[in-house]
């Protein structure tokens, strides 16, 4: 195990360097795909904290993503002179509040009722999006004009590919690191406990409801943050951001990447983004193929891509050690 460490470090450093150099290596469209994949990475990781870590299957994650996305657009449109970072902050705060309210209502249910209620809440938020036309633009969505971001040393233009890429990478990358740290804290461990044996946890003196609520609010806010960047990247937001489709998307990404590891969903979101781009070039029926991939993965590789990778690595290691 100890000998593996430096190798992993080397890979991580290489990956970070590659990400930093991406704007110089990739053509504009590829860079945009990477930016999108980074945004969806945070979205999927936040979902996996619920699903993989706490064992809570939610069908309503898009309500957070959507609230973040729409709050950003509405804030930038309605509040003159608002800076982008302030809009992102507002969006995260708004999702946090939504998470708190919805979380309090969902506190006592688990399992299937939890899944169905989250689905119902997602539908509710979608309906608000459709009907509250004056604010959300309804079916038409909202266009936004992106203000430039003055950082003192440099002025970033979020309409410019490399600028928005770096902004996304730094902030969402930071959020991802934070998530990773979170899984290592006592709180993070108690989340695992929640999944493994909630009853025992209560016997040990934990208030499991509080743990679940904190996790729900925390993952919601992260999804909202991702949604906020999704709006900024597109300088447009539509109902798609709060639709059931968006929930299905995160579910697919997480399962494809694997729920068992922290990096699985990141892998899943990159895989999904690129495969979607590739497939939609070939055929308009790409969701069909994506569905088949999903079914095959769930049936034959329930650990997802990261699970596959681990199995392969283990086999290789065994092959090396046996003479």
């Amino acid at each position: 195990m100890k000998t593996l460490r430096p190798q992993i470090m080397a890979w991580v450093i290489a990956a970070v360097l590659a990400l930093l150099a991406a704007p110089y290596l990739l053509p504009p469209y590829q860079l945009r795909l990477v930016t999108e994949a980074v945004i969806f990475s945070l979205y999927a990781v936040s979902y996996n904290l619920l699903l993989g870590y706490a064992g809570l299957l939610s069908f309503g994650h898009a309500m957070f993503f959507g609230v973040g996305a729409f709050t950003t657009a509405v804030a930038l449109n309605q509040i003159g002179g608002l800076s982008i970072m302030a809009a992102v902050g507002l969006a995260t705060l708004a999702t946090l509040l939504v998470g708190l309210v919805v979380g309090l209502l969902l506190l006592r249910v688990k399992g299937t009722p939890f899944a169905l209620l989250t689905l119902a809440f997602n539908a509710l938020f979608f309906a608000i999006g459709v009907k509250w036309h004056t604010v959300t633009g309804g079916d038409d969505g909202l266009n936004i004009a992106l203000p430039k971001l003055n950082l003192g040393l440099a002025v970033l233009d979020p309409g410019n590919g490399p600028d928005i890429y770096y902004l996304t990478l730094i902030i969402l990358g930071g959020a991802l690191l934070f998530c990773w740290r979170f899984t290592r804290t006592a709180m993070g461990h108690s989340v695992l406990l929640l999944r493994e044996n909630e009853e025992r946890m209560r016997f040990l003196g934990y208030n499991t409801n509080i743990t679940r609520l904190i996790l729900f609010v925390f993952t919601g806010a992260l999804a909202g943050l991702a949604g906020s960047f999704y709006t900024i990247l597109n300088s447009f937001v539509s109902l798609d951001a709060v639709s059931i489709d968006m929930t299905t998307k995160v579910l697919l990404m997480t399962f494809l990447g694997g729920t068992g590891t922290f990096l699985g969903p990141v892998l899943g979101s990159f895989f999904y983004t690129y495969v979607q781009d590739f497939l939609s070039n070939l055929t308009d029926n790409w969701p069909l193929i994506m569905g088949v991939i999903f079914i095959v993965m769930v049936m034959f590789a329930p650990g997802g891509l990261s699970g596959l990778g681990q199995t392969l690595a283990a086999r290789l290691a065994r092959a090396k050690t046996t003479p």
Binding site: P28, N234, F236, L239, D240, N285
Partner: protein, 403 residues
């Protein structure tokens, strides 16, 4: 080390494939339409119009010596999907010109995208007035009537015929509401004696129109205004007559041949009128030539959407021709104020909001027509552009930001 070499080689290869630049001796026009799902039939008909325009243009040697290449894109009627695909075309394939006709939501998203990348979008079907109103932008052109214009045309007809009692029925979303509001406003202006005896907004995709029809009957309306389209129009017409409604309809989209076929009851449509910017029955040599050419090439008539998309594409091509280049800034400049005399009359692109000024044609649905065995449009009469025009100051367009 070897692994590293292999990886870098693979990456380099990937890059080379991705960049793969191609020579630019064609002008690319991407058509954003729903080519799958519920509205496929709408998207298909628009696409047929654009494709035929490209055939005509290319047969005459293209535009400015360049061939026109039409790229069909399935927008899935989803703004997020449409922008994703369009972004790819802009960034990777260097497409600079877009058009589309279905879904004001797609239009809104495309407006933002085109402004961002300074590409051009023209619509031959998206009717929401706001697109050239408070959402107007420099890179967006509309070559069809807005809801305001189409409603004004019908109000003109209703006022001229002297109807006193009018009922309005429309779908309950921004489009339906805009259409009714514009119609009511214009009718009051033209004929203060006319009375709106009832107004109903029903949900999209209504199956049972009986309650609404009985409301219309009991209101004593002499004519019914409707902006309904698709199934909501088919079912309204289909159910109204058996329930005993005698009043006729003045509607946006009654010249849809597929809809009339679906109603399958000619008596239910005969006598009602439709207002559109293109109809088969528009008089004049230009339209006759177009119909002849299209029918010969495709084996069916260029009804409704096909005609709208064709005429729009020809108008755009005129602008590119006049600009002498397909650079977006040049085309925008050339198109502003340009006049085009085509199959549907004389069109002028207004510079203040990029909304075309054009006649709207009105025709009654008649039993005997030269096109189909079932009922279809009779001779079209023109409502002149100035009668349906919305003055620049009233559109809500605050002018375009200078680039």
């Amino acid at each position: 080390m070897r692994k590293f070499a292999i990886i870098s080689l693979a990456m380099a290869l990937g890059l080379a494939l991705a960049v793969g630049a191609q020579a630019a001796d064609t002008i690319k026009l991407a058509v954003m339409e729903p080519l799958s799902g519920n509205f496929k039939d709408i998207g298909d008909r628009y696409s047929e119009g654009v494709k035929f325009a490209a055939e005509v243009i290319n047969a005459k040697g293209g535009i400015n010596g360049k061939k026109l290449e039409v790229i069909l894109v399935d927008s899935e009627l989803n703004p997020a999907v449409a922008t994703r695909k369009a972004t790819k075309l802009i960034m990777q394939d260097d497409v600079r010109h877009f058009c589309g006709g279905t879904g004001s939501s797609v239009a809104g998203a495309m407006e933002a995208l085109n402004e961002k990348h300074n590409t051009l979008f023209f619509t031959y079907g998206m009717a929401a007035a706001s697109l050239t109103g408070d959402k107007c932008n420099r890179n967006f052109f509309r070559t069809c009537a807005s809801t305001d214009m189409q409603s004004y045309a019908l109000a003109n007809w209703v006022a001229q015929k002297g109807f006193k009692k009018v009922f309005c029925i429309a779908q309950d979303y921004s489009f339906g509401k805009e259409a009714v509001a514009a119609f009511t406003k214009k009718l009051k202006e033209l004929n203060p004696q006319a009375e709106i005896v009832g107004e109903v907004l029903h949900p999209l995709g209504t199956k049972d129109f009986a309650p609404y029809v009985s409301q219309i009957i009991s209101s004593g309306a002499e004519i019914v205004f409707t902006s309904n389209w698709g199934n909501d129009l088919t079912l309204l017409l289909k159910q109204a007559r058996p329930l005993g409604l005698k009043a006729k309809f003045a509607g946006y989209y009654l010249n849809d041949d597929l809809m009339i076929k679906a109603v399958a009851d000619d008596e239910a449509v005969i006598g009602s009128v439709s207002a559109e910017i293109y109809m088969l029955s528009i008089p004049g040599q230009a339209n006759a030539d177009f119909i002849a050419g299209f029918t010969q090439a495709n084996g069916f008539y260029p009804t409704w959407l096909r005609g709208k998309a064709y005429t729009a594409t020809m108008f755009w091509a005129e602008a590119v021709k006049k600009a002498g280049s397909d650079k977006v800034d040049d085309v925008i400049k050339a198109w502003e104020g340009l006049t085009y005399d085509g199959p549907a009359g004389k069109w002028t692109m207004r510079a203040c909001d990029h909304q075309v000024q054009q006649p709207v044609w009105i025709a009654e649905i008649v039993a005997n027509n030269p096109y189909f065995k079932h009922a279809y449009v009779g001779p079209a009469t023109m409502v002149a552009p100035e009668k349906v025009s919305v003055p620049c100051e009233e559109t809500g367009c605050k002018g375009f930001a200078k680039k």
